[in-house]
Amino acid sequence: MRRVLVFVLVVVTALLLQTTLFSDVTLVGAKPELVYLVAIVFAMLEGPATGATSGFVAGMAQDFLLNSPKGITALTLTLLGYVVGTLRQYIVSDSPLLPTVIVGAGTFAGILFYGLVSFLLGQLDESFGYVARIAGLSGLYNAILTPLLFPLLRRLAEGSEKQRVGRF
């Protein structure tokens, strides 16, 4: 229960910052995608099952604030969480840069996938070049934020895990 509450709190905070502060603080016109960052980090820390579930919940929360068909972000983050959680099991590296690279690449791929699904549904009329530019800039922005946010998110995830183990 504590883990769920921590996760919900993190997602709501990410959405609030995304819709207020980070609308002003952009990188060459692009905002970071904090919900993508949260979903990817949780998938890295907890594995594919939790990655897919947390991606689904976080994506659905973002979808309900958007004015386009709900479920597209949830679909994107469910698959992204599963893929990142699965790939992480096969990567053996202690490099501190690893989370930064995974978050940056994951965000880039996720936004391209979101753009493709939105385009197929007739909800996006932007050129591929524009979508790729936004995906690249948001991926870069998320990568820049990862060294700041990853330790915090890991502490929150581990803190809630300890509590759960302690109870049993």
């Binding site: 609030l16 207020t20 603080v25 995608e33 689904f56 972000t73 979101y114």
Partner: protein, 292 residues
């Protein structure tokens, strides 16, 4: 056996979640604002609105600070005591100026609203969409304040957009630069104002595009007075249904005219007057879309 069943259960979980996503997309895509899921969306913006307002109040100085850095392009690292005092005084003055500017902005908005609509309501801009592709804003007025879907929204500089989702205490406004926005507009060319009419569509960060402009329309980009012609909202009635916007609300100025003699129509690009990145207050025009 146990080692095999675990990945299989994870894959089953992913298949279930993806199926739910596809079902949600299909239901919401087909039913839109009338569907069962749109109620959750309205509840979500009602719940988030007060939180956004609180966060906005707290982070606005921080946001302004970063915007300031971006615009200035440099930081001053060393200051002596006298410089600090001067800067503190300047900050105080800037604060007063900012308040005065907001007051003037609201007065101008009300003046424009009074000219084009019998009733309007002022609203505070709470936030922007959580992704990079939508061009919408969330405002702190909803159905409890008389706001309804399809009501036009303006700022002192001109047209902002239209209400596309109205919750009880908050609403979502689609900006005219959103790619799904369409505004019937006319170009003020001086003598033949009503003749040059077209459809204005949003293009995101790029200038808006005005299509369906008659090929023989005379549009002088430099204008007879040395300034580009101004684009205003225009009225239209199709199948006894009026357009969304009241007439004569300024939208922007013409940036370029694409005049291809082989084409059946002209295409005009329009730079909007409103700075959508720094909206603080807007006016919702309480107009009903009556049959014409």
């Amino acid at each position: 056996m146990v080692a095999r069943s675990r990945p299989r259960s994870v894959r089953l979980l992913v298949v279930i979640l993806v199926s739910i996503c596809l079902a949600v997309i299909t239901i919401d895509y087909r039913q839109g604002e009338d569907g069962p899921l749109s109620g959750f969306g309205r509840t979500a913006i009602d719940v988030m609105a007060p939180l956004q307002e609180g966060i906005r109040d707290v982070t606005r100085p921080l946001g302004d600070f970063f915007v300031g850095i971006t615009e200035a392009g440099a930081l001053k690292n060393e200051r002596d005591e006298l410089q600090q005092q001067v800067e503190e005084q300047q900050t105080q003055l800037a604060g007063f100026s900012s308040l005065e500017a907001r007051h003037l902005e609201l007065l101008e908005q009300e003046r424009l609203a009074d000219r084009v609509a019998p009733a309007s309501v002022s609203a505070l801009v709470l936030g922007y969409p959580p992704n990079n592709f939508e061009r919408t804003i969330t405002i702190d007025r909803g159905t409890a304040d008389g706001v309804a879907i399809d009501m036009p929204v303006i700022a002192s500089a001109g047209l902002v957009g239209t209400v596309t989702r109205a919750a009880t205490y908050a609403s979502t406004v689609r900006l005219i630069i959103d790619q799904r926005s369409f505004v019937t507009a006319k170009i003020d060319t001086g003598e033949a104002a009503e003749k040059v009419v077209g459809g204005l569509v949003g293009k995101g960060d790029a200038p808006m595009e005005m299509d369906l402009v008659a090929q023989d329309a005379a549009i002088d980009v430099a204008g007879t007075t040395g300034t580009s012609p101004i684009v205003y909202t225009a009225t239209y009635t199709i199948n006894d249904e009026k357009g969304l916007y009241p007439p004569d609300v300024p939208i922007g100025t013409i940036e370029r005219v694409y005049d291809d003699p082989a084409a059946l129509q002209k295409t005009v690009t329009v730079r909007p007057f409103v700075d959508f990145a720094s909206l603080e207050y807007v006016q919702v025009l309480q107009l009903k879309r009556d049959a014409g």
